[in-house]
C-alpha cells in the first residue's frame, strides 16, 4: 500500500528566493506529525503548498496515491484536507455559530443553494453544536467572532478547520501567542478533537510538539533535516546543532 501522504521533493522559489529546496517526508494514516524548524525555515510556505494556496515550483504531493500538488484549495478541501492559520483567519463580523456553520454546510453541499436555508437543516445544526461543544464555545455561539478573547478565537479557528469533517488536518501554530495555561488546555482539546484523523502541525513550542506528535520532521533552510520519532529527534546531533541546541 502506498503512503497516506507523501511530500515528494517539493521546491518553491519566490522570484529567485529559494524558500523550499527539496522537501521530502511521508505521513502515515492517523499519524500526528509535527513540522518544526527555526523562523523562516519555510514551514508556513510548505503548508500553503500542501493546502493549495501556492503551487510548488517543482515536486509532487501524493495524497492517497494521487498527486494533489497545484490543485485549488477548495478542491483539496472537498478531498478531505483542511487547515488552520497561524494568524487567526475567521469571518470576523459573523457569529461564532455562523463561522462554524460555514464549513459544516459546505461539507453537506449547501454552498450556493438559492432556496434551502442551512439553519433549517437539523443534522447541520446538530453538527455545528457538536463542534462548538468540542472546542468549548457553546456559551458564546451567538456573539460575533470579533468580540471573542484571543484564546477563544484560536479555538474557533480550530473549530472552523474541523467543520468540513476533514481526514487530514493541517494546524499552523495552533497555540501561538497563548499563555502556558491556555496552551495546555488547547493541546488537550486538539488531542481530543483530532482523534482518529491524520494531523500535521507546525509548532514552535517544544513541549507541545513532544506531547502531541508521533513523528517529527525538522525543516531547516528549505529542506527536511530529519524525520523521526520524538525520542530520536531529541537526541539527534544535527537537530541539536541546528535548532534544539540553542535553548
Amino acid at each position: 500500500m502506498s503512503d497516506y501522504l507523501h511530500i515528494q521533493d517539493i521546491h518553491k522559489d519566490f522570484s529567485g528566493l529559494k524558500v523550499l529546496t527539496g522537501v521530502e517526508f511521508k505521513v502515515k494514516q492517523n499519524e500526528r506529525h509535527a513540522v518544526i524548524g527555526p523562523n523562516g525555515a519555510g514551514k508556513t510556505t510548505l503548508f500553503n503548498i500542501i493546502s493549495g494556496k501556492f503551487k510548488p515550483s517543482s515536486g509532487a504531493i501524493l495524497f492517497k496515491g494521487e498527486d494533489i500538488s497545484g490543485k485549488p484549495s477548495h478542491v483539496l478541501n472537498r478531498h478531505g484536507l483542511s487547515r488552520s492559520f497561524q494568524i487567526t483567519n475567521v469571518f470576523q463580523e459573523l457569529s461564532v455559530f455562523d463561522n462554524i456553520l460555514s464549513g459544516v454546510r459546505s461539507c453537506y453541499g449547501l454552498r450556493y443553494h438559492f432556496f434551502k436555508k442551512p439553519n433549517h437543516n437539523r443534522s447541520i445544526c446538530e453538527k455545528v453544536e457538536t463542534i462548538l461543544k468540542e472546542v468549548g464555545l457553546t456559551d458564546v455561539q451567538d456573539q460575533p467572532a470579533n468580540s471573542l478573547s484571543y484564546g477563544q478565537q484560536r479555538a474557533m479557528e480550530i473549530g472552523i478547520t474541523l467543520s468540513t469533517e476533514p481526514e487530514l488536518i493541517l494546524l499552523d501554530e495552533p497555540t501561538a501567542g497563548m499563555t502556558r495555561e491556555e496552551t495546555d488546555q488547547a493541546i488537550k482539546m486538539i488531542d481530543k478533537v483530532t482523534a482518529g484523523r491524520t494531523l500535521i502541525v507546525i509548532e514552535h513550542d517544544m513541549e507541545v510538539v513532544f506531547s502531541l506528535a508521533d513523528t517529527i520532521s525538522v525543516l531547516h533552510y528549505g529542506t527536511i533535516l530529519v524525520s523521526d520519532t520524538p525520542e530520536k529527534i531529541r537526541n539527534d546531533q544535527r537537530v541539536k546543532d541546528a535548532y534544539l541546541g540553542e535553548g
Partner: protein, 334 residues
C-alpha cells in the same frame, strides 16, 4: 422564530398598506409611489452587492438599463407581444449579460473591479447612444404597456391604479424573494465573501463561482426593476443606462444604509421623494442631493437605518443586551 414572525407580519402589513394606497393617494403621489417601489428593488439588488458581498460596482446601471431597453425594444419590434414575454426577454438579456460580464470580472477585486464595472457601464451606454436604429439613440423609445393577460381574463394596464397593483405585487414579491435569499445558503455565502474570501476557499467554496452567481443574480434583479421602469414611464432614454443611474442607486443605498436589508428601500423613498420635490423648486437639485450624500457619508456612514436603530435603542431601552457590536451582523442577516 420571534424575529421571523415579526418579519412576516411586517411584510404582510406593508402589502396591506400598499393595497389601500390607491384609495388614499392622489394620482401624482400614486405615480411617485410606483416609482419608489421599482427603485426599491433596484436599490435592494445593489445592496446585495455592496452591503452584503462588499463589492463596489459602478456598473449596476448597465443591468438596469439593459432590462429597460430590452423591454422597450421588444415591445417596439415585436407587435402584440405579451407582458409576460417582455418580462422574460428582459430577464434573459440581463441573465446573459450578467453571466458574461461576471465571467470577465470575477478575478478582479476592489478598485480594479469597481473600475472595470465602470468601463462596462460606459460601453453599454455608448452602444445605447450609437445604435440608433434599435435603441432610438438620444431620442429614446416610447412604448405603450401591453395588457396583463392572466389566461382567463385580460386587465388593461393603461390605468395607473392597475399598473400600480401589478408593480406592488411583482416588485414586492421580488423584494421579498431578495430578503428570503439573504437567509438561504447562497445568501449566507455572500456574507462569507465580504468577510473573508481567502478563508472560504479552504472550506470548499469556489469563490469564482460564488462571485459569478451573485453578480448574475443581482444583475437580473436590477434588470427586472429596469423592465418595470420602462413599463412605468412608457418611455426609455439613455439616461436609464447612464452612470447617473448608478450614482442614483449608490445614493439610495448610502442614504438608506447598507448595513440593513430595509435601509436601501428607505433610501429609495427618500431619494425619489426628494428628487420630485426638489426638481419642482430648482433645476439644480443634484447639487442638493450631492450635499446630502456628503453629509450622510461624513456624519452617518450607516445611513438613515442606523440612525433609526440608534434612536430606537436610546428610547426603548436595550432589548438585546449583547452590546453594540452584536447589532451589526444580526441586522445584516435578519
Amino acid at each position: 422564530m420571534k424575529q421571523k414572525s415579526i418579519s412576516l407580519i411586517t411584510i404582510f402589513a406593508l402589502f396591506l398598506a400598499g393595497a389601500f394606497m390607491p384609495s388614499i393617494l392622489k394620482q401624482y403621489h400614486l405615480n411617485m409611489l410606483t416609482e419608489i417601489i421599482i427603485f426599491s428593488l433596484y436599490a435592494v439588488s445593489y445592496n446585495l452587492l455592496l452591503g452584503y458581498a462588499g463589492l463596489l460596482s459602478f456598473g449596476h446601471a448597465a443591468f438596469f438599463g439593459l432590462g429597460a431597453f430590452a423591454t422597450a425594444v421588444a415591445i417596439t419590434h415585436i407587435p402584440g407581444i405579451s407582458l409576460w414575454n417582455v418580462i422574460l426577454i428582459g430577464i434573459a438579456a440581463t441573465l446573459i449579460a450578467g453571466f458574461v460580464l461576471g465571467g470577465l470580472l470575477l478575478r478582479h477585486k476592489g478598485s480594479y473591479f469597481a473600475l472595470l464595472t465602470l468601463a462596462f457601464n460606459a460601453l453599454f451606454y455608448a452602444v445605447a447612444t450609437k445604435w440608433h436604429s434599435v435603441t432610438g439613440g438620444d431620442d429614446g423609445l416610447s412604448i405603450t404597456r401591453p395588457d396583463l393577460n392572466l389566461g382567463f381574463t385580460s386587465i388593461p394596464l393603461n390605468s395607473l391604479t392597475n399598473f400600480y397593483y401589478l408593480t406592488l405585487v411583482i416588485m414586492g414579491a421580488a423584494i421579498v424573494f431578495c430578503w428570503y435569499f439573504t437567509h438561504t445558503a447562497m445568501g449566507k455565502t455572500v456574507l462569507l465573501m465580504r468577510e473573508n474570501e481567502d478563508r472560504m476557499k479552504f472550506l470548499g467554496y469556489n469563490t469564482n463561482i460564488s462571485r459569478l452567481i451573485l453578480f448574475t443574480f443581482t444583475g437580473v434583479i436590477a434588470g427586472f426593476a429596469g423592465v418595470f421602469y420602462t413599463f412605468h414611464f412608457q418611455f426609455v432614454s439613455i439616461s436609464a443606462i447612464s452612470i447617473d443611474m448608478t450614482t442614483a442607486v449608490l445614493l439610495m443605498v448610502f442614504v438608506g444604509g447598507k448595513k440593513t436589508f430595509w435601509g436601501p428601500i428607505l433610501g429609495a423613498f427618500v431619494y425619489i421623494i426628494l428628487q420630485n420635490y426638489l426638481s419642482n423648486i430648482t433645476d439644480r437639485w443634484p447639487l442638493v442631493m450631492g450635499v446630502i450624500f456628503i453629509i450622510m457619508v461624513l456624519y452617518a456612514p450607516g445611513g438613515l437605518s442606523e440612525l433609526i436603530i440608534n434612536i430606537k435603542q436610546r428610547f426603548f431601552g436595550k432589548k438585546n443586551n449583547n452590546g453594540d457590536k452584536s447589532a451589526t451582523p444580526e441586522e445584516v442577516t435578519s
